[in-house]
Homo-oligomer: 408 residues x 2
DNA sequence: CCTATTTACTTTAGGTACTAAAATAAATAA
DNA sequence: TTATTTATTTTAGTACCTAAAGTAAATAGG
């Protein structure tokens, strides 16, 4: 007589079990209960359903168990092939595709060099369809379903509407991309800012577990930021929040790639550093708007080894970064600011000036106790974060699908 | 056999009913069900309990009902005297105390002139105890219980720890105040930033119902801000988020009351405007660090009526405000920025320069669709917001108390 | 005035989901 | 071999919710 679809507790508890297994690996029912604040009787009931649906498996007991007394724990774990997700990272002149399984492990990764700036919106869509289709044929056999695709894009995106508003990798704007891919691949397509992917990944690491309010700043060709509030990425009214790179250091200051003046990015990004150094240091110009990694490393070495011009340029970048971070501290007061991205290569050359600028800008009461740290950069981090986001976002649907599949 | 204290649905639904009644006034059971997505059978059950506990009453049917056919609705409403809360607003040289009833109505308000800057932490506590005690004796008879006290304080406060970290109204710092008052009055004591109180009040207004991400900027002696994310006030790691007034306009610019240079507040607050104008306009100096409302109104009139010096000062303030708001747009991307506080008196003189600075700072993609509006200021708004916050925060405890009282 | 209709509220019956406690399972310690 | 320990499953019972049926209280229209 009753159809209490409003009662979400079973659903919530089931998702909690799945996420715990993904985050912490195989676990016993009793531990899953403790970790999620539910009784082990309930975990028994939930895991029986998930076993039926093929979303988890029971791990056979290991031969040499070094445990103590008592009945040994029966570990359950996610069935890796129950579903997979694809993360596509779109950056300047490069596309990376990564496949992750239901347990969150990376199963395949590939890079493609593409001159992204010459594409139009239809080209991009055709290209993505093409690459993802090929991936489906070659890599996704053996998976029960493709649960979702995450597009990680540098720049301003609207996650809600699935529209790339403005990306430095693309010469067109306001491209609704998610809907078309969702239709083509019959799965949910998430559009995320690349910094949000990184932040989600970092926030899940035990080292940062005590920092629910976390700001991640990505230095690189441009400057991105992601803000996690209570562990949840903060998106503004239309998804273009946290544009740290375009907050202001000097009104009417240096010219930024966005076309305005005085943005932090116009001082501390790769192109800004190289632009400032090219003339006085007589560096090779080439495409100075897009300096290569080698060029940037050479410049960084100059600054770190005492070249006065390079030192001055990095110090000014540090000051800009410091003023920007001071504003972030005043406005967000996070537990931790993490600085990463390929541009961390130059962090040591900026650090002193940055801390000086922060201390100069804020009194102790406003400065607070926020830690400011840098974090080594790995170009696969974005996609790993994207996979985690995609799995989390699609668990509910995967659950539903496997329920109806079992009933039929 | 079961004691499912983890099952919160009844509790949640009961709170939802109470809040709906407070926000929208008397309502019928059937409407409460529709509004909260629960069946009217459940509302019948919940309201029966609340009637028992004396938290709501049934309103007698009105004689001339202009309704249509069918059994008339039986309206239920909150029993105003079931509980009360007190909001104490602490600002420079003034303390305001307001009593609100369980239905959210203001029942009493009083102002006291106190030279707050000469108090030490113990003086303040004694003073507050004294004023609240007197209020209890005179105004709180007839109420079932004092559910809570909200302290609305200008400056940086830690809500979590109940500590006033730094307030322009006080000459001491880091004062834990909530715990001591809670002990004295046997009720929960909330410490809130004054801007958060205003923001909570405004967010509840139907005019702003479509703006879940709302930034409220308070202009006045200082400059405060509150950020509501999905309708919830955003507090940082230690509660001192949203210090808009001390975000930067010009590194190494004008001196701010905080001791540092270049803060927005050092350009656009009352003291900054008066300081900039006093010398060239030969204004009466007196205590120019705390200009009076009359002095500020006179200065504003000069700017609005074309005095070139005053116009220039207000334009510069507008630019500072504009750059600060541009940073807020880039970092938070809210639906709406509302500017209020006593300083809105000068908003017309700043507005043009402010919009110019925003447009100059951000390209359209980053500027987004955020509305920027001003909002008339009323000095009672803070306490009304504080009362709403206190009631919301204490409903759960009030419910619990009245349950145990009924059982005993 | 009486009856049909309409709408609001209450009661009943049935279902989901949880928990505590008891029962069972599977190991080690002695 | 037995006692003990720990994990999992089963059982019994509770809280909550909803749909449907029942009851209440009004109006509309003959």
């Amino acid at each position: 007589m009753a159809l209490p679809s409003t009662d979400t507790s079973r659903h919530d508890n089931t998702l909690a079990v799945i996420r715990t297994l993904r985050d912490r690996g195989p676990a016993a029912r009793v531990d899953l209960g403790t970790l999620n604040g539910i009784s082990s009787a309930t975990v028994t009931s939930i895991s029986a359903e998930l076993l039926q649906q093929g979303l988890i498996t029971e791990r056979p007991p290991e031969a040499p168990r070094p445990n103590g007394r008592g009945r040994p724990k029966t570990l359950i774990e996610l069935a890796p092939n129950a579903a997979c997700v694809v993360c596509v990272k779109l950056s300047i002149n490069e596309i990376q595709l990564v496949v992750g399984d239901f347990a969150g492990q990376v199963r395949h990764s590939e890079h493609h060099t593409v001159s992204t700036l010459t594409l139009n919106a239809d080209d991009l869509e055709a290209l993505l369809e093409d690459k993802i289709s090929a991936l489906c044929t070659r890599q996704l056999t053996g998976f029960q379903r493709l649960a979702g695709i995450c597009l990680a894009v540098q720049g301003v995106v609207s996650s809600q509407s699935g529209t790339i508003i403005w990306s430095p990798a693309l010469s067109f704007r306001n491209a609704p991309i998610s809907a078309r891919l969702a239709k083509r691949f019959h799965c949910s397509v998430l559009l995320e800012n690349d910094a949000n992917c990184i932040a989600s990944l970092l926030a899940a690491q035990p080292a940062y577990a005590d920092c629910p309010n976390l700001v991640v700043i990505m230095l690189g060709y441009g400057i991105g930021m992601s803000v996690l509030i209570s562990g949840v990425p903060f998106l503004g009214a239309n998804g273009s929040a946290a544009e740290f790179g375009h907050s202001k250091y000097q009104p009417d200051g240096a010219l930024c790639a966005c076309g305005r003046r005085g943005c932090i990015e116009a001082y501390a990004s790769d192109y800004a550093l190289y632009r400032a150094a090219a003339d006085p240091l007589e560096l090779p110009v080439g495409d100075s708007a897009h300096p290569s990694e080698q060029q940037m490393q050479a410049l960084t070495q100059l600054a770190l080894h005492g070249n006065p011009v390079a030192k001055r340029i990095y110090a000014e970048a540090g000051r800009a970064l410091g003023v920007g971070i001071a504003n972030v501290l005043a406005l967000f007061n996070p537990d931790l600011v993490l600085i990463t991205g390929s541009g961390v290569r130059g962090f040591d050359a900026m650090q002193t000036a940055m801390h000086g600028a922060i201390d100069n800008a804020l009194v102790a009461e406003l400065r607070g106790t926020t830690r400011i740290e840098s974090c080594a950069w790995d170009r696969d981090m974005t996609c790993m974060g994207g996979i985690a986001i995609a799995l989390n976002a699609t668990d509910s649907q995967t659950l539903l699908d496997s329920q109806t599949a079992r009933e039929a």
